[in-house]
Amino acid sequence: MKDNIAIKVDHIDKTFKLPHEKNTSIKSSVVNFYKHKKGYEKQQALKDVTFEINKGEFFGIVGKNGSGKSTLLKILAGIYRPDKGNLLVNGKLVPFIELGVGFSPELSGRDNVFLNGSLLGFSRNEMKAMYNDIVAFAELERFMDQKLKNYSSGMQVRLAFSIAIRTQSDILLLDEVLAVGDEAFQRKSEDFFNRIKKDKNKTVVLVSHSMESIKKYCTQAILIDNGKIIKRGNPEDVANAYSEQNFDAKDINVNKNKIKPKIRIVPLTKSIVTSKDVFSFKVDFKHPKTKLKVYLAYNIIDLKRGGIPYDSGLFVVRPDDDNVYNLPLTLFNNGDYRVNASIRVGTKDNVIAFTDENSGHVFLIRNKYVKKGLNNDYGLLQRLQ
């Protein structure tokens, strides 16, 4: 194996046998044997997965629930054996599938640190060398002689997390454990991950649903669906592909429903757009056809950052208007936005129909950044490129 490779996954297959009913007694296996029933169903969790992770990389694995990403992580950790294919790991690997595995509530914090260390393959002396650092990072110096059961849940998680990231391993596997502790602790962890990202000797594999973390920390990422890698490459693209996938899956826009609300937003362009696009939509409603004036108003809500970036104000609509509107998005940064509309009749206070969470329409702006580091979507408006 080349020296600069930390993990090499070579054509790995994994199939699970899922028992139909509780099949853990001798009787049921005898019965099934005579009935020629299998008593289980096969489910292929990973299909021919191949990739390499270089040393020093911060590698992200994303995918929907049940896509096989946790199975993959467990194979990397050596917990599951692949049915087919090879796995090569170069260096000391420490897995954190879950925080605080093996913690014993009856033992003191100190004993738990050492117990956890030995479970991860560190000797007592090695742990002694790391002990102060771990405790200091967790900020639990005063509590180490207390029993773990007397810790608050936040303290327990902080201790577990500190063990996870302060042990001296070459490769760290993390499953969805980035945001723990209070705000100050999270900021500290964030700093730590930013430093680790630059560390050329430490490799991190991160499984996460938070595309923010993936974009922020990862240098490489893969998207898994149905046991296969469907996208690999820079974390931006992978995270965007994942968002798109979920956008279809979640079906946030109930517009497609058969039940027709009084008013709804019908998109005329794609729902995932870039800042260069113009988002067009039609406000579909039944015009009351009265002699009174009918007012329409629509606005955009920023779902991620909050607030209303745009409001059209009231304007009069006539029965034969097509009510199609265009939103140029030039200045808008990445984000999730919802278009809402309302109808008033006669006076400006008399609202007769409005869209809600379901009948409004959500669209996403997902820009592809050519240069890394340009993606700074904290703000609503972006720097023009």
Partner: protein
């Protein structure tokens, strides 16, 4: 292979698991570790009163009290070790599903905890032997060998049971019945000489525990006891218990090794 099995990393983990187990055992009890000596002592007193004073089962066997206590200790060790090991893999399911530690370490640490208990019990026995003025001969050096034989046998059984229990939860009930039967067909409470049929004596002594127990009693406590050598009259049958031990150990380990690959999925 042994070098890999007992690598530094595995030794550390084993020590830590045993230490934790022991620490947790007498949590929140006032007397703490003293209980591990006090408990067998109190049980011995009960047994002594019932079997030596009331029932007089061991009439004719010198030092019957020590003889009886030793039998109970050895049998209890076997019961404790196999019963605890049986549930150990399933009980540590959280570790197995989330960390890749060698699976056999879990069984081994459970067995060592039982072994430590056996050691403590033997201290009590030793005290009784000294109090009772049992004449100690040179053959006492054989006792550790017989105890090792029982340990290896129990370890083979433990490996098999703990792995089988992952798939078949019936095992725990079956094994309980097995142990109950074993308790009565092993000469623990009664001297083997009470069974007058030689064929039955032979069958009973094929059981490695019965054989090792009788041999160890012969070596340590009294010569007035039935041992395989006299029953089998030097035939090759005498070695069947040892063969069973070897067979059970390797069979149990092999089964465990094969099954352990899928523990994380099956639990």
């Amino acid at each position: 292979m042994l070098k890999r099995v007992f690598s530094k990393q595995n030794r550390v983990l084993l020590a830590e698991l045993v230490r934790t187990d022991f620490k947790l055992r007498y949590q929140d009890s006032v007397l703490g570790y003293i209980w591990s000596l006090l408990r067998p002592l109190l049980i011995f007193v009960i047994l002594y009163v019932v079997f030596v004073k009331f029932l007089k089962v061991g009439d004719g066997v010198p030092y019957y009290a020590q003889y009886l206590l030793f039998g109970i200790v050895v049998w209890n060790f076997f019961v404790e070790m196999t019963m605890q090991s049986l549930g150990s893999v399933v009980g540590r399911g959280d570790l197995i599903r989330k960390i890749s530690i060698p699976r056999w370490i879990i069984v081994l640490s459970t067995s060592l905890a039982a072994l430590i208990n056996l050691g403590l019990n033997l201290i009590i026995i030793l005290i009784f032997i000294l109090i009772g003025h049992v004449p100690i001969t040179g053959s006492v050096v054989l006792v550790p060998f017989y105890l090792l034989e029982i340990y290896i046998f129990a370890l083979g059984v433990s490996f098999f049971l703990s792995a089988a229990f992952v798939k078949y939860r019936d095992i725990s009930y079956i094994w309980e019945v097995f142990l109950q039967a074993g308790f009565y067909i092993t000469p623990i409470l009664y001297p083997l000489s009470k069974i007058t049929n030689v064929l039955f004596q032979k069958i009973i002594l094929l059981n490695p525990i019965a054989q090792a127990l009788q041999d160890a009693r012969y070596a340590m406590i009294t010569k007035v006891t039935t041992i395989p050598q006299t029953v089998f009259k030097g035939g090759w049958h005498e070695y069947i218990p040892f063969m069973i031990v070897v067979l059970v150990f390797f069979g149990g380990s092999a089964y465990f090794k094969k099954q352990s690959k899928h523990f994380a999925e099956d639990i």
